[in-house]
């Protein structure tokens, strides 16, 4: 958990990076599989995706800064994207890959709205720490 937390702060930044590289690997693997039968099994992709998703979820639970929490959410979405791409490859259908574009668009819109909201909170409260934002409860 501790290292998940530690990794998180940097992890979210290079998520698109890692995701891209993962996709590249999977393409490569599949291209090769056409020729000589070597491929990265689908499970690997799915496991990686699940791990990333879990890291994202833990980040949401453990980080205090709402911006980082939001980045963790983005990590979760991108983890799912990874699954989609891998599964699309598995099924040989374009659907999954198209979905990824939609999800990315949604994530971008979410980022715009989310950062605006966080900014607004910061202006009024001068904090974006999740544990200091509990005016309403019980």
């Amino acid at each position: 958990m501790a290292d998940g937390k530690g990794r998180m702060a940097y992890g979210s930044d290079d998520t698109p990076e890692s995701e891209r590289s993962e996709r590249a690997i999977s393409h490569q693997a599949n291209d090769e599989s056409l020729g000589n039968g070597i491929m990265v099994p689908i499970h690997y992709h799915l496991m990686l995706s699940a791990v990333l998703f879990t890291i994202g979820a833990l980040g949401v639970l453990l980080r205090r800064n709402t911006i980082v929490i939001f980045m963790s959410v983005e990590l979760m979405l991108n983890a799912v994207n990874l699954s989609f791409v891998a599964l699309a490859r598995q099924w040989g259908s374009m659907d999954g890959q198209l979905i990824v574009f939609f999800v990315m668009a949604v994530a971008a819109a979410e980022a715009a709205v989310g950062l605006a909201i966080i900014l607004m909170v910061f202006r009024n409260r001068e904090t974006v720490n999740a544990d200091e934002l509990n005016l309403m409860r019980w």
Binding site: V73, L77, F84, V106, R125
Partner: protein, 515 residues
């Protein structure tokens, strides 16, 4: 070679709302301060146009956009519910926006965009379109929640809603991915076909079931079912009251629309797998909602918990399934919409900028100073309690008799006991209004025509739909039946029907009482 099949009729109500929304947004730029009220009327006209268009489409049962959307009575019925919620919200907002100095253009435009998202959700027969509709709706509502920018409660509510909403979207999307992984498609019809051919025993595979659970979690969040309800009270409290009403009715209706469509259509064959989960969710939701509502002192917050409890009753209808359960759910959504919109409209009427008047104490003595307003509030509270012959009673009657008929006798018993408990906190409002002296002389806005229209309309609806429930129920049945016979997946229809109607009576009663 394959050209996309475009069926504009299916999206026409949404297109109308979008165009009107954009017009509202742009028009505000050129408009004088005092002309802002026309924005409300324009939005209302747009909503009315969308509702009328939906009405003229009635009777068509087609699929559109390559099977991504359905144009069926089910979607149109929800279109009407959404138009009702949006229209009433616009009426309530007319003076609220002015009084609270909210940015009118953005406000109405976002309201209409959210309605577009809801309509997409109700009509979507593709998991990704559902996701897009959900996000369209949610993002507009996130912003609306925080539209009172200077209000710290509103800020906080928006932030909480946004973070948790995005978190829940992640789960939903993961669910979609897993279902896609198993079935190779995100189209509801194709998923259903795959499941009924490959899992004809109704058992499913671990990955499919995991996907299904994640979808339940995602939808459970949007409908505010316990244990995914925690956001609801805070967000409902912090949001502008008009938006709270919109969320409580519109968002819930849209989420239930696609929840039911996905689970009865795609996962109908797995009914035996998810009914126990929804059974537990329904019970937990009813209990948590009702018990927590008992100890609230803020009326908005109390109504928030009450709407959680009502999500529980709706889940009961969903578990009951079959034509009766589905129709009961749709009828109950109408009922819930009418009485809740009315109740929130009164909260709007009693509040003012800088003086929200949302505590129980603020309602003390209202019955004597504003007898008409208090009488209508009493009607809404009684209807929410389920006192006949108001619409809340008829709705609960349908829901619980559907549950009883499907053999979920314990679910009905728990539901009945819960609605008995709920009486305490609803009646508390009535007691406060009629039997306590107010220290504060609250001056309602109720004389404003738009708001008064909304309140009176909700009152009339609450009474009339309760006294004459046959027509709306027949409509709901008809609409739900259209869901059972989707145009594009004729082959899977008979199997689905069996799953939805025979499973609950045959296997469920033996299963549920044991745990």
């Amino acid at each position: 070679m394959i050209l996309p099949e475009v069926n504009w009729a299916a999206v026409m109500p949404s297109v109308i709302l979008t165009v009107v929304g954009i017009t509202v947004l742009c028009w505000e730029l050129w408009m004088k301060e005092q002309d802002r009220k026309y924005l409300a009327w324009l939005s209302l006209a747009g909503v009315a146009g969308a509702a009328l268009f939906s009405y003229t489409l009635w009777g068509r049962n087609e699929s559109a956009f390559n099977g991504m959307l359905a144009l069926d009575a089910y979607a149109l019925f929800f279109n009407l519910i959404i138009c009702l919620a949006t229209g009433m919200t616009v009426l309530m907002s007319r003076h609220y926006v002015e009084n609270n100095e909210l940015p009118a253009g953005e406000y109405y435009a976002l309201l209409l965009f959210a309605a577009v998202g809801m309509m997409l959700m109700a009509a979507a027969t593709d998991l990704i379109v559902i996701f897009l509709g959900l996000e369209t709706m949610s993002m507009a509502v996130y912003v609306l929640t925080g539209i009172r920018r200077q209000n710290v409660k509103a800020n906080e509510a928006a932030l909480k809603y946004f973070l948790l909403g995005a978190f829940a979207s992640g789960f939903f999307l993961y669910g979609v991915a897993l279902v896609y992984g198993v079935t190779g498609s995100v189209k509801l019809g194709e998923v259903a076909t795959y499941i009924s051919t490959h899992f004809s025993d109704g058992a499913g595979s671990p990955m499919l079931l995991a996907g299904m659970v994640l979808l339940i979690v995602g939808f459970g969040f949007k409908v505010a079912a316990a244990p995914f309800h925690a956001w609801a009270p805070d967000v409902y409290e912090g949001a502008p009251t008009t938006i709270t009403a919109f969320m409580a009715v519109g968002v819930k209706a849209a989420a239930f629309a696609s929840f039911v469509r996905v689970f009865l259509l795609s996962f109908g064959a797995l009914h035996g797998q998810w009914e126990a989960i929804l059974w537990a969710l329904a019970v937990l939701t009813m209990i948590v909602g009702n018990l927590t509502a008992l100890v609230q002192d803020n009326i908005k917050r109390m109504l928030a918990y009450s709407s959680i409890a009502h999500a529980g009753y709706l889940l009961v209808a969903m578990v009951a399934g079959g034509e009766l359960g589905g129709a009961a759910l749709m009828y109950y959504l109408v009922a819930y919409g009418l009485m809740n919109l009315g109740a929130f409209a009164i909260v709007v009427a009693v509040g003012k900028k800088g003086e929200p008047n949302e505590e129980f104490n603020d309602y003390a003595g209202l019955g004597f100073r504003y007898p008409g307003l208090a009488m209508m509030m009493t009607i809404f509270m009684l209807s929410l309690t389920g006192i006949p012959p108001l619409v809340g009673f008829t709705g609960k009657f349908y829901v619980f008799s559907a549950a009883v008929k499907a053999g979920y006798i314990w679910l009905a018993v728990i539901g009945v006991l819960n609605s008995v408990v709920s009486a305490y906190y609803y009646i508390r409002v009535v007691v406060t209004m009629y039997m306590q002296e107010g220290e504060k002389q609250v001056e309602p806005l109720s004389t404003r025509p738009a708001l008064a229209t909304a309140i009176v309309a909700a009152t009339v609806g609450t009474i009339m739909v309760g006294v004459l429930p046959a027509k709306p129920m027949a409509l709901a049945r008809h609409s739900f039946a259209s869901l059972q016979k989707p145009a594009q997946t004729a082959s899977s229809t008979p199997k689905k029907d069996q799953a939805a109607t025979s499973t609950p009576t045959a296997t469920a009663p033996s299963k549920t009482p044991h745990h």
